[in-house]
Structures are given as C-alpha cells and as structure tokens.
Symmetry: C2
DNA sequence: CTTAGTGCAAAACCTTTGCAGGTTG
DNA sequence: CAACCTGCAAAGGTTTTGCACTAAG
C-alpha cells in the first residue's frame, strides 16, 4: 500500500501527460462500452510517467517492482487496446523485439528515429518541417492515420568502436607482414 | 534435375536483377573470405526472380516446391547474410511477421509503404521527390545507411467494408429503436 | 585437409489463447 | 448478476542454437 502511494508520488511530475491520456482512455472505453479497470489505468499511468519508449516486459517488470501485480497477458492485451485507442504506437526496429511509445502530441512532440545497425540503439529526432511535409501527403484511395520514419545507420559510438578495431587490425596485419618478411 | 533446369528457365526473365546481385554477393563473400555455396546463390536467385516482398517461409516453400532442398535454418542464416551484405532489407509492418525485399536500385526503384491497419495489406508507393529529400538528410554524429518510411492507415477495400458494416449496423439500431418505441 | 556452412532437431523467444475465477456496470 | 476482464498455464509461431556431417578453398 505504501509502495503504491509512493509510486504515485514519483509519477506526479509527469501527470501533465497522464491526465489527458486518462481522460482519453475513459472516453474510449465508455464509447466502446468496455470496462474501466484499475489495471488499465495503472498500466496507462506507468506508460505516461516513464520513458517515451518501452518494451512490454520492461513495463511489466516495473509494475511488479512497484508492488503492483498485473499478469503479462494483461499487459499485452492492454497495450494492444491502447494502440487501438490511438494512445500508444508500436515500433519494430531492425530485428529487435517490439517497442512501444506514447503517441506524440502535435508536430512539436512528433519525431522520427535513428536506429544503429550495430548496437541497436534508437535515437528520437525532432524535425517539424519534415514531419509536417510527410504528414501532409495524401493518397487517393488510402486514408492515412499516421506514419513512421526509421533512419538506419551507424551511431557515433559504434563508428568510433569500429574505427578503433580497424586500426588495431591494420596494426596486427602490418606486424604479421614484417614477421613474414623477417623470415 | 529436370525441375531445376525448368525452374532456372522460369527465372530467366528477371536475370537482369539477379546478375548484378550475384556479382555483388560474390564480391562480398570474397571480401569477407566466406564460402560461395550453391545454397547462397540459389536463395539469392529466388529472391531476385520473384516478388519484391517475401516472407522467409514462403521463400523456403518455393525453393522446396521447385525441388531445391534447403533447410529453413539455412534460409534464415542466408537472408541475414544478405541483409548484412546490403542486398536485402528487412521490414516489419505493424504486428505482422517480418518481410524482406531486395534493396531498391537507385531513386527510381526506391519507394515507401502504405500499410493497412485493418487487413495488413502493404502497398509500395514511388515518390522520387520525397525519397530524395529524406535521403539527403544528414545528421552530425550518425552515419546514415538507408531509411524506411511506413504510412499506416486504412486501404480503400477496408474503407468500403467498414462503411457497409456501419450502414447495416445503423439500420439494425434504427429497427431496434422503433421496436422499443412500439412497446 | 581444415573449418565454414549445412541439415536436423531441439530450444528459446515473444506473443496469444483457453479456461477458471473475480470484478465491473 | 451477467459478461467482461484478469491471471495462470499452456500452446502458438517464428527465429536461433547445438551438434554431427558435408563440402569449399
């Protein structure tokens, strides 16, 4: 019980995000005549009070760690519900397991993703001009909902690492050559 | 044996795609001192002589159907190799299983994807201006390799279907209301 | 001949499903 | 108090792995 209150306190800082999401969820559930269960709101709060991106079982673990027990299946089902309700979006970068993020509000929060092909790290990049441009595209027979832009490449960290490896490899190969010549 | 020859004949029409891919694979394998096995070339040929998009086990089934036996694990390993070699690209639309496609050659073949949130169908759309624009984006510390743009929404087919359902539902509800009023 | 690559079967992984029991409206 | 939702365990589908054998260089 203390844990729950404490956890709630911790999340206060981000209530600006959670509050409208909670209102939206309530409206959605009422509209669909679905039940407003404590689990759904607890999961929603967790999503809207932590990092924008999350993995299903990280979220589950966090909830459990706070002393809030929900089954993993409920977490899966609930996230699926949130996706259908337009509160959460699913991403799958490269061959990584699925990630989710809360739906960005407006052009200012919208972003695209830089994905490192080596380490898999994902960086969100804001580019309002680009977002607006792509968001304004229209297709004759297709009713657009949203879009995802993933830019794949190599992050700075991995570039450095690869450079180092290359250098040490080159050194080894030079050494080998010398050795061969010396024979 | 006859099957193999026949299959090869069938694929002739797309050799314009396969030939440069084969050359590229050979160069890649030589560079990495990896082996040029018949399996790798057979899988590459199949990829470059059928639809641009494919699922791993469809590809495997097609090879088997032609009488060319490769294990599923080899198909997985080989596709992964092709991805690393820059010959094939991986896609994962919504919550569907992974799809792959051969890497588009130049701006003219490049495209983005419209994905239906209802039926999951994917449509490739060419938009050279857009592709060029996104392709020219540069990031200070990130070395871009390629990008994927997925536009999610509802395809025309599903729009029609949903419209029909709505209409028939509205009719039912009207009927119900009348019945209630009659009580 | 050395060892990477293959085939097969089993395991791992993430996600969904079936069913019994609890909770919402 | 009906039916929806949850929890649990088991199954599902896809992808990876371990190991013995084959074949490329």
């Amino acid at each position: 019980m203390i844990l729950r209150i404490f956890a709630h306190g911790m999340a206060m800082k981000d209530d600006k995000l959670y509050t409208p999401a909670r209102v939206a969820l309530t409206a959605y559930l009422k509209g669909k005549k679905m039940r407003r269960t404590p689990e759904r709101y607890a999961i929603l709060e967790k999503i809207f009070s932590t990092d924008a991106h999350f993995h299903v079982d990280d979220l589950h673990r966090k909830l459990e760690a706070e002393g809030y027990h929900v089954s993993l299946s409920t977490v899966y089902a609930t996230i699926q519900l949130f996706v259908e309700a337009g509160l959460v979006r699913r991403h799958q970068f490269g061959n990584q397991p699925a990630q989710y993020e809360r739906v960005p509000q407006g052009v200012n929060e919208s972003h695209h993703h830089l994905v490192c092909n080596v380490c898999g790290r994902v960086r969100a990049v804001k580019d309002p001009t680009l977002i607006e441009l792509i968001g304004n595209l229209r297709y004759p027979t297709f009713k657009t909902d949203f879009f995802s832009l993933y830019v794949y490449g190599i992050c700075s960290r991995c570039q450095k690492k690869l450079k180092k490896e290359k250098e040490s490899k080159a050194a080894t190969s030079t050494a080998k050559k010398k050795k061969t010549q010396n024979h």
